[in-house]
Amino acid sequence: MRLRLFSLSLLAAALGSMSCGVRAQSRTIDLGSLLDAGKSLVKSQSVGSMSEEEELSIGKEVVAATLGGYPPVRNPELQHRLNQVGVWIALQSSRPELPWRFAAVQSDTINAFAAPGGTILVTTGMLGHVVNEAELACVLGHEIGHVTRRHHIAVLQKSLLVSAGASALNVQSKSGGSEEYRKRLISESKEIFTRGLDRSSEREADEDGVLLAARAGYDPAACLNFMQRLASLKADTGALAALYKTHPTAKERVIDVDQALGKLKGAAPGEGARPELTLNQAETGGEKQ
């Protein structure tokens, strides 16, 4: 029943998109064929079956687009150290073999981004709010969670399913469809950055942040401390106001993180390290990729 409702919603959404994206014309539409065509397109080019290589490729382009608005901080020592911490945490995840990349980017906002494929961007505003390496681990762990769970891919899939229905009339042949599909993927990925992910995805990522920080040897309670600090700040109604409509508040996330801490087995809050944040003291030596 739920699936049927979803299909009907999808069709309605597809038709809604059509009315905007296609010049209004008086013509008869075979609704069944439209839905079938949409399903066929998605099945043939599904992000759900996207290979890791494709995921990396899309992720790279998303990162490039994001860096246009958020240039990386040109401090190799800082960036190198950030990568040491980030990769260490990512190694505790379900996808340790991804080519994980971490970068501090210039932005006053308190934010972090995860691109498909394993590139994590953290704003200088965010880095200015973490007081120790354990808190940084929580932030990075959260973003790593989005990547390992392929949250963005799932949103892309839903989004493309709708747009596939909308463009089904135009996609009778697959010639040139791949490049168009790719462009759409990138465009949609960028959109996700502006819209945010849903509540359940953020909760899962918060849980991953706690878990991965704990596995990496950090005190998981640092995640709660960090979130409480964010909750004590007054949310602005400026440029990111739209984000807050779909993003849980820090106060809600304090509750989520607290509950996650209560479920941990193998590490209790208060157990673990809270190293000083020394991103500028990049350690040298060892393997360099």
Partner: protein, 106 residues
């Protein structure tokens, strides 16, 4: 921008990293300013500024820079070890679908 009105706890502490930020970005508030509560801040661990998203152009150089800062598994493990960190087997009490690697980097 907004950040200029903020004074994160980290900045109040004047830690080494934020000193670097000051020198690098020039956007961080004065270290001697008091820590504030009820600050105005943009926060969230998801979301890109809509204006930035619209105006941003692909930055291929940035991608290359990020690649140049990458570190490998062994280096990350060695750095963690030097920091006194060791991987632990930690799980959630009841999780329907585990998505993480219980063995960590071991």
């Amino acid at each position: 921008m907004l950040f200029c009105a903020l004074l994160p706890a980290a900045l109040a502490q004047g830690n080494v990293f934020t000193n670097i930020l000051r020198s690098v970005t020039g956007t961080v508030s004065r270290p001697e300013a008091p820590a504030a509560t009820g600050q105005t801040a943009v926060l969230g661990v998801r979301g890109m500024d809509e204006g930035d998203a619209k105006t941003s152009a692909p930055a291929g150089d940035g991608v290359k820079l990020i690649e140049s800062w990458a570190v490998g598994r062994r280096e990350a493990e060695a750095a963690a070890s030097r920091r006194g960190l060791a991987a632990r087997a930690v799980e959630y009490g009841k999780v329907a679908a585990d998505n993480t690697n219980p063995q960590g980097s071991k």
